[in-house]
């Protein structure tokens, strides 16, 4: 899988994929079992984060907190 194809999968999961890339991703998913397997793995990771965030109720975290964490990540 190319870097661009991998990026389509991440943008798809973020709900931020363009219509053109969405069509390309569909063609790839239709043709390539490895891409489908990667999508299921990335979706597993994504759904786990969402579940953890819901369980920990981190929605109320003030922007200053994640701002500092973002800076720490460079």
């Amino acid at each position: 899988m190319t870097e661009a194809e991998e990026k389509w999968l991440h943008r798809y999961l973020d709900g931020a994929i363009s219509p053109e890339d969405s069509e390309s991703l569909e063609n790839l998913l239709r043709a390539d079992a490895e891409t489908r397997r990667t999508l299921r793995t990335l979706a597993t990771i994504d759904s786990k984060w969402r579940q953890l965030a819901a369980d920990e109720d981190v929605g109320a975290a003030p922007p200053q907190l994640y701002s500092r964490q973002y800076e720490d990540l460079g």
Partner: protein, 202 residues
């Protein structure tokens, strides 16, 4: 109780579903009370089902709604499931039908996968059900091993009541840079899962 019942929904024929599940060697430890048996099985398999539904739902917000519909449909069909050891793949195929019905409701939406792809994803997800379980176990430890800053930032990014757009505005960063960071974290975890499963005895 998380199972709600709705009226007027489209019903399936039993023949539409994968009712005769493949036999397993697991001893049947199901409680005699079907409600209890169903709840235990649903709770046990819900993370794998959620992961599969997420792969077919570009809008993460729809996952809970689809899962609730799957739980209703699965409960209605539960008495027809002979082998409770095959609950996961069986519920996955029920999820496939629910996703296809959801897809038809949003057929004009560009962010909806085609029916043939949903079917492929579902059939393969049902086949690799034990792998999904092992991936989720590996993922637990991989997330724990992430640096604290990375873990806490990801949790903030995934918070239900905040969008990436809002977060980017608050941070004075572009949405793209935040999406890139999320993708990096997911890729890191993907590699960690692969390493963990490669090292684990099968």
């Amino acid at each position: 109780m998380f199972v709600k019942f709705q009226s007027g929904r489209q019903q399936w024929n039993d023949s539409d579903l994968f009712i005769s599940s493949p036999p397993t060697n697991e001893p049947d430890k199901s409680p005699a009370d079907p409600h209890e048996a169903f709840l235990r099985l649903w709770t046990h398999h819900e993370p794998e089902l959620r992961a599969f539904v997420r792969s077919c739902c570009p809008r993460a917000q729809e996952v809970d709604e689809v899962l609730q519909d799957v739980s209703i449909a699965a409960w209605r069909k539960f008495s027809t499931l002979d082998d409770h050891g095959a609950f996961g793949p069986w519920a996955c195929l029920i999820a496939r039908y629910e996703l296809l019905m959801t897809r038809r409701r949003f057929a004009r939406d560009r962010l909806v996968l085609s029916e043939d792809i949903v079917k492929l994803l579902a059939d393969e997800a049902a086949d690799e059900w034990p792998l999904r379980n092992r991936q989720l176990e590996a993922l637990e430890s991989c997330i724990q091993r992430l640096p604290r800053e990375r873990r806490e930032w990801a949790l903030a990014a995934y918070a239900r009541d905040r969008s990436i757009r809002e977060m980017a505005a608050q941070l004075g960063r572009s949405e793209g840079s935040l999406y890139q960071l999320l993708a990096r974290i997911r890729k890191e975890l993907q590699r960690c899962i692969e390493r963990t499963l490669t090292q684990a005895p099968s």
